[in-house]
C-alpha cells in the first residue's frame, strides 16, 4: 500500500497520460464550439456579400421573393411566412397530442401498455422525412381534398399536419421524461388531499414538470422550423406571402434545397441568397431557443 502511494503520486508517465486524456476530452468538447462558430462565421461572411447588393430594409420588407428571375425581388417575408405557417400547423398537431400522450404514458398507462406504445412512438420518429413528404403529398392531400375540394395539390396544411405527426415523438418522450422525474412524494401529497389521478396529473405533475415540457416544445419548434424534405415535397416550393395554410408556399428550407439542386455558380447573387436565407433560419431558431430558455428559467420548480 505504501509502495502504491509513492507510485501514484510520483510517476511522470501517469501524469502525462492524465494530461493527454484531458486534452483529448477538451478537444472533443471544443470541436462542437469551433464548428458552431465556423458555421455562423461562414453564414455571416457570405450573407455580407448578399447585403452589399440588397439592403436589409428591402430584405425584410419586400413582399416578393424571386431572386432567380428577371424581375428579381429579395423579400424574405414570403419564405418566413411559409416557415411560420407550416410550423404553426405542425405544432397545433404535435403539442396537444404529444402532451396528452406524455401525460398518459407517465401517469396513467400500466407498465405493459407503456412497453407497447413507446417503441411505436420511437418508430414514428425514425421514419425518414422523405417518406413523410410523399405520405403528405400522395395520401394526406387527396384525403383533405375530399373534405375541401378547392384545396391546392400542394399546400402547407397537409405538409404541416404530417410534420406535426413526425414531431409527436420528440414532444412526448421529452415531456414524459420530465413528468416521470417529478418526485413521487408530490403525487402522494396530492392524493392525500383527496385529488383524483387526473387532477394530480394536470394540476400537480404537469406544472411541476413545466420547464422540461417547455424544453420539449422548443425542441419540437426547432425541428419544425428546420424541417426540409416534407415541405419541399408537399408544400409546393412557390414563394407566396400568405397566412392561409390551404395555399401552396415555400419555406426557407425548401428554397435552400431547391436552389442548391440547380447548381448555382459560386459568388453569384443567387448563391448568396442561400446564406442570407440560412442566416434568417438560424436567427428564427435562436429566438425560439432563447425564448424557451427564459421560459424554463422562469417556471423552473426546485424541489
Amino acid at each position: 500500500m505504501s509502495n502504491g502511494k509513492s507510485h501514484l503520486s510520483h510517476s511522470p508517465m501517469r501524469l502525462a497520460k492524465e494530461r493527454l486524456v484531458e486534452a483529448i476530452l477538451f478537444l472533443a468538447a471544443f470541436a462542437s464550439v469551433a464548428i458552431t462558430v465556423a458555421i455562423v462565421g461562414i453564414l455571416l461572411y457570405e450573407s455580407l456579400g448578399f447585403f452589399r447588393h440588397v439592403s436589409i430594409v428591402e430584405f425584410l420588407t419586400d413582399t416578393q421573393w424571386t431572386p432567380l428571375f428577371d424581375d428579381a425581388h429579395y423579400g424574405i417575408l414570403p419564405l418566413a411566412a411559409g416557415t411560420l405557417v407550416t410550423t404553426g400547423v405542425a405544432l397545433a398537431v404535435a403539442i396537444p397530442l404529444g402532451t396528452i400522450i406524455a401525460i398518459y404514458l407517465s401517469e396513467f398507462a400500466p407498465h405493459k401498455m407503456r412497453e407497447i406504445i413507446k417503441p411505436f412512438l420511437e418508430l414514428l420518429g425514425a421514419v425518414p422525412t422523405v417518406v413523410y413528404g410523399y405520405f403528405a403529398l400522395i395520401f394526406v392531400t387527396p384525403l383533405l381534398q375530399k373534405i375541401m375540394p378547392d384545396l391546392s395539390g400542394f399546400n402547407m396544411l397537409s405538409a404541416g399536419l404530417v410534420m406535426g405527426i413526425m414531431i409527436i415523438p420528440y414532444v412526448s418522450s421529452v415531456s414524459e421524461d420530465a413528468m416521470r422525474a417529478v418526485p413521487m412524494h408530490m403525487r402522494e401529497g396530492s392524493y392525500a388531499m383527496g385529488a383524483t389521478r387526473f387532477q394530480t396529473s394536470v394540476r400537480v405533475v404537469t406544472p411541476a414538470a413545466f420547464s422540461g415540457i417547455a424544453a420539449a416544445y422548443i425542441l419540437g419548434i426547432s425541428r419544425a422550423v428546420g424541417e426540409t424534405m416534407v415541405v419541399a415535397i408537399a408544400a409546393g416550393m412557390q414563394p407566396n406571402l400568405t397566412w392561409d395554410p390551404t395555399q401552396p408556399a415555400a419555406t426557407i428550407t425548401a428554397y435552400i434545397v431547391q436552389v442548391s439542386l440547380g447548381d448555382l455558380p459560386h459568388g453569384s447573387i443567387g448563391y448568396q441568397t442561400i446564406f442570407a436565407a440560412g442566416l434568417t433560419l438560424m436567427l428564427i431558431t435562436l429566438i425560439f431557443n432563447i425564448g424557451g430558455y427564459l421560459l424554463t428559467k422562469r417556471f423552473r420548480e426546485v424541489y
Binding site: L68, F69, D70, D71, P142, G153, F154, M237, Q258, G262
Partner: protein, 335 residues
Amino acid sequence: MRKLMIGVLLAATVIASPIGVQQVNAAGAVVKIDGSSTVYPITEAVAEEFQAATRGKVRVTIGVSGTGGGFKKFCRGETDISEASRPIMKKEMEACKKAGIQYVELPVAYDALTVVVNPQNNWIKSLTVDELKKMWEPAAQGKVTTWKQVNPAWPDVPLKLFGAGADSGTFDYFTEAVVGKAKSSRGDYTASEDDNVLVQGVSMDKSALGFFGYAYYAENAKKLKAVPIAAKAGATPVAPSIDTVKSGAYQPLARPIFIYVSAKSLEKPEVREFAEFYLKNAATLSEEVKYVPLPDKAYVMALDNLKAKKTGTGFGGIPEVGVSVEDLLKREGKH
C-alpha cells in the same frame, strides 16, 4: 425518385448479367451525364440498352440538373455528356472555352413543349401565345392571379402555375417562345427542374396550368389535358403530337433537343461507344419514350460529326424559336 429508379435499373442489369456484381466492380468505367430533364427519358432508355449490351461493364449515371445546371457542370469538366433542351448559349460557350472544354453538338430528337391543364378544367379548349404571355410575363408577377384576368370569358378562379425552374432549358425555350426573351418570366409560380413534380401539381389542382416536355404528358395523359396552341389570335390551334411536330404545324413550341459530348471525354472508349450507341438507337428509342425522331439523314450526319470530332455549335449562342427539321439539318451540316 428518379435516382432510385436508375438504381433499380442498375441493380436489374447487374442481376441480369451472368457474372453479376463482380463484373461491375472490376470494370468501373463510368459515363457521367447531367442536364435537361426533358432529354432524360431518351438518355435513360439509351443507357438502359447500352448497359445491357455491354453487360454492365460500363456504368452510366444520369443527373437532372436542368440544361443550365448541366452545362455549368459540363464546362467545369465534371461530366462527359450534357443533355440540353435548347442549344448552348453564349455565356455557356464562354465558360466552356475558358475551361478549355470543347464539345460535339448532337441533335437527338424533336420535342413538343406541351402546355397542360387539369382534366377537370372545362373552360380551356385552346390557348393563343398571347394569352400564355399574359400569364407568364414578368409584368404578371403578383398581379395576374385568376383565369378571368387573362380572358374575361374564363371563370374567376385562381390561376395556379407550374413550370420548369430557372436552370431548365425548357424554361429558357418557353420564355423565349412565349414572352419573347429567354429567362424572362414571372417568379411566383411553382418551379421545379423535376418534371414529375409539375405533373403531380397540375394533376392535383383543378385550376392549374403547366408546361413541360411531351414525354411527360404522354406518360401521364390520363391525369392531364394537353392544350392546343394557336401561334396568333385567329390562327387554327394545333394540338401537340408526333405528327404535328413532324409536319412543322406545332409552332412555336416544337424544338430540337441535344446532347453535348466533351471532346476530351471522347478519348475514353466507353464515352465514344456510348455516344455512337446513342445516335444509332435514338430514332427507335426516342419514339418509344414519345419524342419525335429526326430523319435518318440527321443521325448519319451527327454520327459523321462525332467520328470527325467536329466541335462547336450550329447555333450562334442566341436563343431561337421555330427551328425546323430541315433548318436544323443544314446548320448541323455546316459548322
